[in-house]
Structure formats: C-alpha cells, structure tokens
C-alpha cells in the first residue's frame, strides 16, 4: 500500500493509504480530524475545503497520495493552542454566520484563503463570488458575507504585525 507523509496542522504524519483513498478520508478516518466535513462528495458543496500548501482545495476531490509531501491546514489548525479563535472564526461567531454548522468548516477555510490572497480588500460582491464553491443550506449567506467582510481588517492587521 502507498505511504503518504505529510504535515497536518503543523504535525508530521505518515499514513498507509490505498491509491483511491481521498484526502478527506485520510483526514477524517486515519487522523481522526472530523472537523472537515463531507457534504456532497461530488465537488460541489465545499464542506470539505482544507488548505494544501496554502491554497484552498476540496479534500473530497484530491487523492491522499497527491498530498504526499504537502502541508495541510484543516479547521482544527486555525485556532491557537490556548483556544484563541482565528479572527475568521471569531467573526463567524460575532455575526451569527452559522446555523446548523455543517458548511462552516469549509466556509471558514475558503474564507481564510480568499481574504489572505486579497490584501487589497474585497467588496461584498467579490466575497460572494469568492464563495462560489461553498453551499450553505441554512443561513442564506448574508451573515457569512458580513463575517468575512468584518474579518478582513483583523486578518490584514494580524498579517502586518
């Protein structure tokens, strides 16, 4: 069986997988990181979004073997060790950007990538476009967009520190 060595949330891991094992299966089933969700399993909903070498990807549409040698960040890796939330998580809480919470890990990971890659700042419309890969069945998106908008100055201030 192929072996995959990767870094997940800063910790090194070496895992035996099958060729067909998906990255999301490796994370959830082999490493017990169940914060990354599977909504559709057909590349549509974005519940499974994680960062691979700093870029957001759908973990249900990447093979674990493709991630060999990569550095992965999941929703579990965003908060600080002492439990202080990432500004994006804090703003999701502040702006009531979740209801059932199923889409939330993928939304937050997609949003963190979106904001980090756009230091010039994003308009509401650009944020909505940026969320094209993420579906939410509960909130109607308005509060998610508000949360992301509010997280922008906090994330950029943090990055500038």
């Amino acid at each position: 069986m192929p072996q995959v060595t990767l870094t997940v949330n800063g910790k090194a891991a070496t895992v035996e997988v099958e060729g067909r094992t998906l990255l999301v299966e490796l994370l959830r089933e082999k490493l017990g990181l169940t914060g990354t969700h599977v909504g559709c399993d057909t590349s549509q909903c974005g519940a499974c979004v994680v960062h691979v070498d700093g870029n957001s990807v759908k973990a249900c549409t990447m093979l674990a073997v493709q991630a060999d040698g990569s550095s992965i960040t999941t929703i579990e890796g965003l908060a600080k060790a002492d439990g202080t939330l990432h500004p994006m998580q804090e703003m999701f809480r502040e702006h009531h950007a979740l209801q059932c919470g199923f889409c939330t890990p993928g939304m937050v990971m997609a949003a963190v990538d979106l904001v980090a890659k756009n230091p010039q700042g994003l308009t509401e419309e650009q944020i909505r476009h940026g969320l094209e890969g993420n579906l939410c069945r509960c909130t109607g998106y308005h509060n998610i967009v508000k949360a992301i908008s509010a997280a922008q100055p906090l994330m950029h201030a943090k990055a500038a520190e």
Partner: protein
Amino acid sequence: MYDFGYTKPSSLADAVAALAGDDEAKALAGGQTLIPVLKQRLNKPSKVVDLSKLGLSGITVTGDSVTIGAMTNHATVAASADVKRAIPALAALAGGIGDIQVRNRGTIGGSLANNDPSACYPSAVLALGATITTNKRSIAADDYFQGMFTTALEAGEVITSVSFPIPAKAAYIKFKNPASRYAMVGVFVATGPKGVRVAVTGAGQGGVFRHTAAEAALSKSWSPAAIDGVSISPDNMNSDIHASAPYRAHLVGVITKRAVTAAG
C-alpha cells in the same frame, strides 16, 4: 471508487512509458474531472499516472505568443500578470472556471484532454488558433477537437503545453450554468494574426465549434451590429434540462454580440 495503482513519475519519459505499457493506465492532472469520474465508477484504471512532478507547469510570454505548461492550474493563469497583459481574455476565462477550489487544482492540459462540451478552454484554443504540444508532436487547434470528449490525442499521448498567438482583440463571454458555472453557451471571439475567429462552447452537440457565419460577418465589419443578421440552426445544438436547442441557438447570437462588444 475501485482501487487502482498509483505512480508519480519524475520525468516525462517515465510517465509516457508508464502510460504506453498499459492500456488501462490513466493520466492524472488536477483530478477535478477524473476523480469525480472514478467515484462514479465510470472508469476503472489499472493505475493512475500523476503528472504533477514532470515540470510541466509555468507560463512563458514572448512578443507574439503565450505558452502555458499543461499542468498549470487555472488560478495561476488567472492571476498571471503576463497573461493579463498579453491576452486578458484568456486570464479572465481561467478566472471564471468553476470556483476558487476547482481553479486551484484543475489544469489547462486536463481541460483540453477531457474536451468537455461545456468546458471553457477549448473555445480559447480554437478561437485563438493555438497549438497543442504533446510528447510526440504539435497539433493545430483546428485538427485537435474531434467531437465531445474526443480529441486528436492518441492513447497514452501526454499534452505538455499549449501555445496561443497573441491576438489584437479578444474576449470570452460565458452564459453560465448557475450551479456548476460550466458554459451553457460560451463564445470566444478574436481578431489578430489568425484572422477573425469565433469559437462556441457549451452549445454544440459535437463540442466546441467555429461559428463561420459570424466570422464572415465580423471579417467585413468588426462590430456588434455585424452579428444582427447572423443566425445559427438549432439542429446540432445541445438540449437538456437547463436549456433547449432553440434557446441555445438564440443565446449563441446574443453572447457573440456581447463578446464583440467586450473585445472592443
């Protein structure tokens, strides 16, 4: 998904050998089409040959052409200052494919090898008269697309890069399926070293095609008004739950006009 073997060769020669020795082997680029296909068990490869370590990604711009490595992902093309300067329509097309996560993985080579009848890149390749380079040869766009999901590629042939002549003017407008963002109708118009060329994706039953009547009209007068008298038969148009054939035929005219307006 059925299980399969997996190999990640570190040279093009090794990748070609791995594919050539085995009819059931399948190349893997960004996986944004292949992995969903494997999940549906529509394909059962013996092994998957990952092309990511062959050094096939990157963009080179010269005075008259833009060459994009097969493994270059859509996000990289969309963000490239060089592509934005040389062929802004191409950067915009790449930036409109799917969503950010799809663009971070999906590649130009994968899109062209797959030749989905609703995919965006085939229209740019055909309208700009690009050349597709493989491990064996160079293929002109006009010879490459051979019907939906069908191309001139032989079994085991690997696309290595695509070279686009820089047009004087070009634009791509997509009337997108709001759920997948694939083209219901997408039109790429260009005028430049290859003359006036108009390629339509999403609409035709045979995949991407050149809209020769629009090309003739635009060659006489490059203006949105030139499209007014041009119609296209619904006979060979796709028809599905999203749009009927006559609706798609109508959209071809509307979107071609918008594309000419956008190209300026």
